[in-house]
Symmetry: C2
Subunit: 197 residues, 2 copies
């Protein structure tokens, strides 16, 4: 990797954690300068549009890091039902040790971007929609293989799956107690049993 | 109301909306000065500890406003089952017109306070715990009256109820589409049917 690419990646990685912990409004260009040890000029030479461009790139990076981490866990699993369960177990294990410090970037950025940052908000919608499509893809595979019932409402399943994970993360991280995620996980695992053939 | 009390209430009400929309880190004392039209000195004469004290008081106020709004809807309802349903309908109707601008203060402050503000965080835990206790109180009333099964796990029900509402609000507000809340609501209403005698 060239030096410029390395610097760019370092900015992205370090600001991804900053934005994920402190939010868009709570993270200043000065914070990014301090974290990366770079001057304002150096930051702007990589991201000419400044903080908004860094935040957008950092969010995409953070979502990618989470997807990769989940993907490493589920890639080897053949069964669609087991894949859906493995994602729940992955989140369960990593609530307090998330791949991007600060927790779920979709949750953090969603709450953060709802009031005031339309570019970041549309990126959150994209990430949520991507996630939903991945779940529906897994459901389709399971229907094809005869593991999952063909008559289920796939959108409803996927939305519930995501919503219950996000609600569980929110409560577990607020209370500092994974018991709260477990209760949501139990309901999702119950739904998975219901869609099995 | 005395003039000083009026001013104090105005600071609390206006900063509750600011903090709820922009978060703790994203709201500066300058923002509060601009919103209220008060000087820094005037703000500090009411809140000697500054921004943190304002944020804490504003959060308590915001949670109180939501509880009052929900309470006005449910107070007249005798049946515990109908009370539990009415809260879901209330949230459904008010996702985009919440009583405190910016959405659910528990959700916003929880995500915001997880990384960095221990005082605000402990207040979020208190609000979540209070909510859980109110649900358990309603369940107990329903068990006493013979409406709700006595053998249910009340804590599990209450945590799922809160988590599914919060997950639903998060997705609906991100997508700007109440369909996402409806899907979570359907699951909660299904759980309510399961606990009925």
């Amino acid at each position: 990797m060239k030096k410029a690419e390395k610097t760019r990646l370092k900015i992205i990685e370090q600001s991804a954690e900053l934005f994920n912990r402190k939010g868009f409004a709570g993270t200043s260009v000065k914070d990014i300068m301090e974290e990366t040890g770079l001057s304002k000029g150096a930051l702007y030479s990589h991201f000419t549009k400044g903080k908004e461009e860094i935040a957008l790139t950092a969010f995409r990076h953070a979502v990618g890091v989470v997807y990769d981490a989940v993907g490493r866990r589920t890639r080897v699993i053949e069964s669609s039902v087991d894949k859906l369960k493995a994602v729940i177990y992955y989140y369960r294990e990593n609530i307090f040790t998330p791949p991007v410090e600060g927790g779920c970037p979709i949750q953090n950025t969603s709450v953060d971007a709802n009031d005031g940052n339309p570019v970041l908000k549309s990126e959150v919608v994209k990430a949520l929609t991507d996630w939903q499509e991945r779940i529906i893809h897994t459901l389709n595979k399971g229907i094809e293989s005869g593991e999952i019932r063909a008559d289920i409402d796939k959108e409803q399943f996927a939305v519930f799956y995501i919503g219950a994970i996000e609600g569980g993360i929110l409560m577990a991280r607020a209370h500092d107690d994974d018991k709260y995620f477990d209760i949501m996980a139990k309901q999702i695992l119950g739904r998975i049993e219901e869609i099995k053939v």
